[in-house]
Amino acid sequence: MSLNLIQVILVIFVAFLAGVEGILDEFHFHQPVIACTLIGLVTGQLIPCVILGGSLQMIALGWSNIGAAVAPDAALASIASAIILVLGGQGREGISSAIAIAIPLAVAGLLLTIIARTISTGIVHLMDSAAKEGSFRKIELWQIAGICLQGLRIAIPAALILALGAGPVKALLSAMPDWLTGGLAIGGGMVVAVGYAMVINMMASREVWPFFILGFVLAAVTEITLIGLGAIGVSLALIYLTLSKKGGNGNGGSSSNTGDPVGDLIDKY
């Protein structure tokens, strides 16, 4: 389907917002479940976009900017794949191929982020000279310029896809044979594991693995909702913290230097 002028402007605005949030990480407009929904909202294809957003959110759960590392770019992935889904006009049918398109886009977005962060290095040098003048106004302007730069990072690619139009996008999607889209849907079911694996690698310690096992086994009981599992998890954490403190008091000094820094700190507490 093709979009009218107002829709085009709104889509580019949403893309800009997602780009800004991709770096700020505050309101989370760049998270797939929100970004895709907003694109769906302004283009009138709400439900397929919500479903796409939900699916991408599952894949992107573990993507986050830690320290200087840049995560695969959820902003470009969500915005561009949602636009392609809308332009393709296949509705729900197009969701699995849109998910597959999103992944290379996340890599492309990563490169754009690195470029934007490098340009920002120049911006802070301009801030340095503004500081020498004691000018608050200039620092504010440069900060806003930096933010806009991040917004354009997504808005420009979005505008390019819109400029290409529905025709080529549709042709590309319908040219994909069934074995490919079917296989990509299967792959899409598995790739969420990568995000989880990243998070586990950061959090795991010998102490917390038993809780992993508990969670895995309890999840097989389909009657327990995710909220229910959350409640069980919170309770387990509270019980563990309380008990480990009580145990610590009993052992006193004997348990110091056991090679378990957290245990030692709990003892001190």
């Binding site: 290095t121 074995w179 586990i200 508990l214 959350g230 507490y269």
Partner: protein
């Protein structure tokens, strides 16, 4: 003293709002420094009036800074308290202020990452995503509202806490509370992650038929003997609910066998494989693309 300069609540609200844009000029040289200076401007404007003072203040706040964007708030609070004292004549030098910033940003990032990125975000995200996948608009709304309510109240509360406690906050935070939060978050995180792997990683070997046994008469619904029309449908449903099979052949797929063993075992193994590859420094993007290729190949081979 009569001419003490104090930061008003309005100044602190301004700073809180600006801290939303902390990462806006994130750069490879000094990371969040530009956003940090930008955030503090309302406070610095109130405290310093001469050009020299302002210039010096801005320069010292353009030093390297990087932490988790939300836990920057208590550091902002403490820094405001220190700047306020300095503006009122207490001898606090640049080194002290920079020292407090650097000293707090490391340990606090160590709390912010597991709590926000690895616990709150995956849990809210998974909840919202599971609603959204079923086509419900409640999913995205829930994510947006809950996430921002938690984030904004956390940032305001900790900034105020930092401002009121001043430099004492560093001591408070190095106590047990910080460790407890981190530990509790990683317990909850591991628990929920395992549940998410079981529920949301789809590895399905259904196309692989392990066995196909012809069942004895009476164990399945004999469709040719059903009455026609609605009565037939009713009869078929009654027979099915009394345990009769729908088909003449009982098909057992590889997936059925795996489910009897441990439901979600394949998903777990895929996750462990990913963890191992990540530890070997294989890029996550390569792994994701690899899984897509694997999916296509297995689909073509008729295994998945």
């Amino acid at each position: 003293m009569a001419n003490q300069v104090k930061l008003s609540k309005r100044d602190r609200i301004n700073v809180w709002w600006r801290s939303t844009f902390l990462q806006g000029s994130w750069n490879y040289e000094r990371m969040q420094n530009g956003g940090w200076a930008f955030t503090l401007i309302p406070a610095l404007k109130r405290l310093y009036k001469t050009k020299e003072d302002r210039s010096a203040a801005l320069t010292r706040h353009l030093e390297f800074f990087n932490t988790h964007p939300y836990v920057a708030s208590p550091i902002i609070g403490v820094t405001m308290a220190l700047e306020e004292e300095r503006a009122n004549g207490t001898p606090i030098d640049d080194v002290t202020i920079q020292g407090v910033k650097v000293g707090m940003m490391g340990p606090l990032a160590g709390v912010g990452d597991p709590v926000f990125w690895y616990t709150v975000k995956p849990i809210i995200g998974a909840l919202a995503a599971s609603l959204a996948i079923s086509g419900s608009i409640v999913g995205p709304i829930l994510y947006f509202v809950v996430w921002n309510a938690i984030r904004m109240s956390f940032m305001w509360y900790t900034q105020e806490m930092g401002y009121k406690a001043g430099s004492k906050i560093t001591e408070d935070l190095s106590g047990g509370i910080l460790q407890d939060i981190t530990k509790g978050a990683s317990i909850l995180g591991m628990f929920i992650l395992a549940a998410l792997i079981e529920r949301w990683v789809n590895v399905d070997f259904s196309p692989v038929k392990v066995s196909s046994i012809k069942q004895s008469a009476g164990a399945y619904i004999d469709w040719s003997k059903l009455p026609s029309g609605a009565a037939g449908i009713k009869e078929a449903l009654i027979q099915q609910s009394s345990g009769l099979s729908l088909t003449e052949y009982k098909v057992t797929t590889l997936q059925d066998n795996l489910n009897q063993l441990i439901p979600g075992l394949a998903a777990l193994l895929i996750t462990f494989l990913c963890m191992w590859l990540l530890k070997k420094n294989v890029s996550p993007i390569i792994i994701i693309l690899g899984l897509f290729v694997f999916g296509v190949v297995m689909h073509v081979l008729g295994v998945m």
